[in-house]
Symmetry: none
Subunit: 313 residues, 2 copies
């Protein structure tokens, strides 16, 4: 029979409340996520007889942000301090706040499946230095090996077979034209979260690697007309926009990201994003900048391109 608390609620894990994590026996850390200050743990809950062969579970522990109500912030002055170091006017401590102000979030999936385990397991990230030689040897053959169907959805957009109702702006010129769409991640509710994508009509440009000085008019055209449209429609000035390309991109048809400068995410990190202004600057400095350059970027260990590169790194 299941254990029940005073209110008669079943205390069996997975169907009701628990008083503590004490019955959890760690098998391994699935994922260590310092960016979220979170740990994803795999283990088992002891069953009610105390045996360890209970249900398999994922326990997600995450530090909570501070509460910002003034009364709560004031109570934080009860934090005990332990000195780490002092230099001039700067000092650093380990702090122990009152426990009630320092709760964490605990999410439990119990029982969990192999699919849950795969979803939350670590995929390692590596920084890759792509010389022009490595591009020719591995990256370009990889891109050319992708089935045409992987890019069909882009052509459907450009041919107005799909997502026509989402089209924000179009310059139909075959060489310098493009379409501007809201990115799927933007719900279009707040201009301060603006995220648009400009997709060029030219189908020969796979990525920033293919850009030469002759493409400066295309890039300037995308920048100028998209910024003008965004100003007219959303009232956001160009100096509030982070405009960038991804290398590696998630699909190999040249497109440019426009995001509000206050929007943050891993997709804006150096080693993934390249400012359109920098691309324009680089092509002005050297017409063959992207033919000659070593480009460094992050790749996940499970990505096919990373696997293809492994024997050459």
């Amino acid at each position: 029979m299941a254990k029940r608390d005073a209110d008669g609620v079943d205390l069996t894990v997975g169907s009701a409340r628990m008083g503590s994590l004490e019955g959890f026996v760690l098998e391994r850390v699935l994922l260590d996520a310092p960016d979220k200050k979170a740990l994803f743990l795999l283990g088992r809950f002891k069953d009610i007889t105390g045996e360890e062969n209970g249900k398999r579970a994922i326990v997600i522990l995450a530090k909570r942000h501070f509460e910002t109500e003034t009364s709560k912030v004031e109570q934080l002055s009860q934090t005990a301090l332990q000195s780490i170091f002092t230099n001039d006017i700067y000092s650093k401590y380990g702090g122990t706040p009152p426990p009630s102000l320092n709760e964490i979030n605990v999410d439990i999936i119990c029982p969990c499946t192999d699919k849950h385990i795969a979803k939350y397991s670590k995929q390692e990230t590596f920084i890759v230095r792509e010389t022009p030689e490595l591009y020719a040897l591995v990256t370009l053959p990889y891109i050319l090996s992708l089935p045409a169907t992987t890019i069909q959805w882009v052509y459907n957009i450009l041919e107005k077979k799909k997502e026509v109702e989402r089209l924000l702006y179009e310059d139909p010129d075959a060489a310098q034209g493009f379409m501007l769409h809201p990115d799927l991640k933007w719900d279009q509710k707040q201009a301060s979260e603006l995220y648009c994508l400009a997709i060029c009509h030219n189908r020969d440009l796979r990525s920033v690697r293919d850009l030469r000085q002759e493409h400066l008019p295309l890039l300037e055209n995308i920048k100028t007309k998209s910024c003008q449209f965004i100003l007219d429609k959303y009232g956001i000035m160009q100096d509030k926009l982070r405009i960038y390309l991804h290398y590696q991109p998630s699909y190999y048809h040249l497109h440019v990201h426009f995001t509000h400068v206050d929007l943050f995410g891993a997709g804006q990190n150096v080693g993934k994003a390249i400012l359109l202004e920098d691309v324009i600057n680089n092509l002005a400095i050297d017409p063959d900048y992207y033919l000659k350059s070593t480009l460094s970027y992050t790749l996940g260990s499970e990505m096919d391109l990373y696997k293809a590169m492994q024997s050459h790194l």
Copy 2:
């Protein structure tokens, strides 16, 4: 007379250790940073007579990531749980871990200046296009106008007057040498959160703008020796490190950031961070790349440099 603890250590804020935040009287929250799970507070420390007209201070509270040593993770099963909701196999709780496993980081700047307050206050962010002309007209005069005292703490480190116990590695060569320190944001508990700073001995290099092809040996030296040290000491390979400079930097003495590739933050965004590999690539493509280039970056509206630029943008 200054208050002292049992060991005779001066407890006056700004010159030594404190036992708790209790003397801190909140004036206002300067910045609420949910992405870092951090609060930046402005207030005053009561002086030893208990009066509230003590020194003005900035107190930065930041949740720490969990420690990932197995024994520490296992101890987290002592976390008390309070149910928030349950739905099928998914359940959510507020958790209270043992306080020793749930310390926060506390940084204190005391006394603080108006400049510190501006630096940590919420402000609008803009993207600035710095042409070589704008650099000569505004940025360089701004840098040269900064009082020598603002960089004194860097010289204290380089002259081994301060933070000697934090020195990780040094190449003492005057032209190509540097010192490697853990960044203040890294508590050195976990290699997966590694954040080190290489500060060069050359005092003529203010930022990436001053770099020319002749500095390639310095940059290669910093990269090679720091990566070797980090591999030897922390077991982290070079392809797990994001190595970058900031432009604009927070102080104008050339330094290079080394962070674990899994560590995320606004300081790694394009428009602020520039990969060291890209700097090396750019100087190889054109010896005067940083003399000729238009550099685009984000600036806060309250920063003196942004104010100085306003009439020229």
